[in-house]
């Protein structure tokens, strides 16, 4: 349907629904696999999902997906109708999962706006072969589809009307359908069915429209011939047939005698037909209740799907509105005016913008459950491949994170789970020797911690070997401290460095030439951090700390000369004006400050960023103590400007591509229209060693 093809809501809906269906299908398979067999419900469900995907994909002209879905539909149709007993469920699951992966891959391309063109014929024929095998093993030859209606239905003689032959007219009609309307035989059947209530006798050619789908060709070439005895005038009859849908050509002749009817009379056998009893399904209460629970979808639809790009745009707009509000309410022109009503209205405006902002944020928050559930598949594939028995435990999957962040953590999590199974867990037989539970356990846990979310990937495997890590680090020249100066945690964190990989052989799953440093990069890209804890023989825990949202942060604005900077409030421990005698300078010229008996390094922002300022004496300015990654630093600035929520914007791409600026996370617009640069505290504390 090309006119729909370009239609954006249709495309969005297609992607949304197909993705949902595919995920449901995957869950279905994974759950079923645990049970070891496919229940009738599951078979029905998979059939239905595939049927839906087939239909939607065909509408969107994604024929490779549609064809593949059709093959699977056929397979599950067979399973549903014939309930074969000998099924190799493991192969079946593999095949369906392969289909899941194929469609996922194509969906990704569609989402990216790429061409969908991967050939699905090989996979399709694999499934067809499997179906053939199933048929042979279960000794079922393909049944010709049983006509659902009575077999001899090519003529009707209505019982009660036979008496009243006086007013009967006899007609011959030849009907042609529009080209390309398809299923002409059933369309012909529809006509005869609707005539049944009125006509006395009906005969037609071809006779086997119901039983034989080949009759389609005959109807296309020669038309559908209808002989009717009926108590209707020519005009009435003509009007009736005119109603036929996709009618291309109609020829209606009133016959004087029933000569032409005789060809149908041969076996004079009056079949008295009752209209087949219309089965009214008993709708049991349960069904009704289910129906009730599903709120009526018409005009009062309770859930809609929205394109993320629109949400991003909305977020931007709200951000701009927050700025615009500040520009109005803090406008310099208002200075010195007594405008009570203005301030009242401004407060109301402020209240509404804040609520609006919170609501937009809330809309963007999605639970981690989808991401977490994806791991079931990884665990399944890995444990099958490696022959390790693994149990995956999910805790706190309802924890919510900003949509944009979720996209960034899915891959790292996958990598970590793979790592845990491949390198973390011992082989099953080793676990038995070690008297550990035979089934290895991987736990994925999420929980809120202030403005961050913690995600833990835990395994009960062999733990990290400190000595091996140190050896490896030494080989690669990654050690910056001497070995005995390092804490356990510092040693473990070595594996996060680029170019570090504890496994010599690259395995199909975890290796892939990428190490933990990729995980770190991904997490840091969203302003998060990674840390590792481990105990030999007991297991390893990797903790990802991720901000709830990237879009809006609470910030403290500071000034240095003419420049403005914003520090995320969450990193600020305190700010103070230092006393002369608390300041220390070491022989290398590093400046430090003593606070409550502890010494902290000082960073002069004006020096780091070469900003001209009058304030270069510590006692004239202010120190802001910040902490991240368990490192503390005092930032020296001219003065504090105040705290506010700021909308994080990235620096223009031209600037980012020209140079990666250390210690800058982005920029934001202040109420007065000025731009402030947002400091990346994690980058600054590490800059200082």
């Amino acid at each position: 349907m090309s006119e729909l093809y370009a239609n954006e809501p249709m495309m969005d809906m297609y992607i949304f629904e197909t993705t949902q269906n595919i995920e449901q299908l995957e869950t279905c398979i994974l759950d079923t696999e645990k049970a070891g067999y496919y229940s009738q419900n599951v078979v029905n469900e998979i059939f239905r999902i595939m049927h839906t995907i087939k239909g939607s994909s065909a509408m969107m002209l994604f024929n490779n997906i549609s064809m593949l879905a059709h093959t699977v539909e056929d397979l599950f149709y067979f399973l549903r109708e014939h309930k074969p007993e000998q099924i190799d469920y493991s192969t079946l699951s593999d095949l369906v999962l392969e289909v899941v992966d194929f469609i996922k891959g194509e969906l990704d391309k569609i989402t990216q706006g790429d061409k969908v063109n991967r050939d699905s014929t090989i996979l399709s024929s694999k499934i067809k072969d499997y179906l053939e095998e199933l048929k042979q093993q279960n000794a079922i030859t393909e049944l010709i589809e049983k006509p659902v209606i009575e077999k001899q239905s090519h003529y009707y003689i209505a019982q009660d009307k036979t008496e009243n032959k006086i007013n009967l007219h006899m007609y011959k009609a030849i009907i042609f359908f529009d080209d390309g309307c398809e299923m002409e035989n059933i369309r012909a059947y529809t006509i005869t069915h609707h005539l049944r209530d009125m006509a006395d006798e009906i005969y037609y050619l071809p006779q086997d429209i119901i039983e034989n789908d080949e009759s389609i060709h005959l109807i296309r070439e020669e038309g559908f011939q209808l002989y009717v005895k009926i108590n209707k005038t020519y005009n009435e009859m003509f009007e009736f047939l005119k109603q036929t849908i996709f009618l291309k050509d109609l020829e209606l002749i009133e016959l004087d005698n029933d000569e032409e009817f005789k060809q149908f009379y041969k076996p004079i056998k009056k079949i008295i037909l009752d209209t087949p009893p219309v089965m009214i399904p008993k709708i049991n209460n349960q069904n009704y209740q289910e129906g009730k629970e599903q709120t009526i979808t018409s005009s009062n639809q309770s859930i809609i799907s929205v394109n993320v790009a629109k949400l991003d745009k909305l977020m931007d707009l709200v951000g701009e509105m927050v700025i615009a509000e500040a520009m109005v309410t803090q406008n310099p022109d208002l200075k010195g005016l007594t405008i009570v009503n203005f301030h009242k209205a401004a407060r109301q405006l402020h209240k509404i913008t804040t609520e609006l902002q919170d609501m937009v944020m809330a809309i963007r928050m999605v639970p981690l459950s989808t991401t977490f559930h994806k791991m079931h598949r990884i665990v399944r594939d890995m444990s099958k491949k490696l022959g390790k028995e693994v149990k995956l435990e999910l805790i706190g999957e309802e924890t919510e994170v900003d949509k944009n962040i979720i996209e960034h953590i899915s891959d790292p999590l996958m990598h970590l789970v793979r790592n845990a199974i491949d390198h973390g867990l011992e082989a099953t037989k080793d676990r038995v020797t070690l008297e550990k539970p035979k089934i290895g356990k991987v736990t994925l846990e999420a929980r809120n911690a202030g403005s961050d979310v913690l995600i833990l990937v835990k395994d009960d495997g062999k733990g990290l070997n400190k000595q091996k890590i140190l050896d490896r680090a030494r080989e690669n020249d990654l050690l910056i401290k001497t070995e005995n100066e390092m804490t356990d945690k510092e040693i473990y964190n070595l594996i996060l460095l680029p170019g570090f990989s504890t496994k010599e052989a690259v395995s199909e799953y975890s290796g892939r030439g990428v190490g933990m440093d990729v995980v770190t990069n991904n997490i840091e890209a969203v302003g998060g951090s990674v840390s590792i804890d481990s105990e030999e023989g007991i297991g390893t825990t990797i903790t990802l700390k991720i901000p709830l949202t990237l879009a809006i942060i609470d910030g403290m604005n500071i000034s240095v000369g003419k420049s403005r900077y914003t520090i995320p409030t969450t990193t600020i421990k305190e700010s103070f004006r230092p006393k002369e005698n608390d300041l220390i300078k070491d022989p290398d010229g590093n400046e430090m400050i003593m606070v409550r008996g502890q010494c902290f390094p000082i960073l002069r922002l004006h020096e780091l960023y070469k900003v001209k300022t009058e304030v270069t004496d510590f006692t004239q300015g202010i120190l802001i103590m910040v902490e991240q990654d368990e490192k503390t630093l005092c930032i020296f600035a001219d003065m504090l400007l105040g705290q506010q929520q700021v909308v994080v914007k990235t620096l223009p791409s031209y600037i980012k591509s020209t140079r990666k600026i250390q210690g800058l996370a982005g920029c934001t617009l202040l109420g007065d229209g000025n731009i402030s640069l947002i400091l990346d505290i994690g980058g600054l504390v590490n800059l200082n060693g």
């Binding site: 420049s563 070469k610 223009p652 020209t658 140079r659 250390q662 617009l669 000025n674």
Partner: protein, 164 residues
Amino acid sequence: MAESVMQELYEQEEDTQKGRFLTFALGSESYGIEIKHVTEIIGIQPITEVPELPEYIKGIINLRGKIIPVMDVRLRFKKPFREYNDRTCVIVIDIKEVSIGLIIDSVSEVLSIPETEIVVPPEVGKGNNKYIKGIGKTGNDVKLLLDCEKLLTEDEVDSLNNIQ
């Protein structure tokens, strides 16, 4: 001045933009820039400095909520810096979805320069010639026609040297 030139720009239809150039001055030289790249012309704005950038990228400005970088074309061409005044303009151009503001001394006018009047610049080893993709003749004047893409992409090595 800026407004009237902009007015003129808006009146151009897409297809008639071909061969039309916005001309501006840098000192005594006159440059031209293809109109299809130009999105607007604004007066000089407060510029937020961004550390560690080459000297010719002056920083970022707030263009109605959109943050864009600004480049001082004088400095880009290694000409001496000149204080900004009320004739200084920022030409906002859009190239391959990158918006950037070009700071120039002053804008002049919109000109049609037929292709026949444009010649390829002579090959002179180094210098600013690499940013010039043609020399257009209009009456007695010549306009140096800028290659905007090169302006943004070329010379990364130099830019690194500049800050050291």
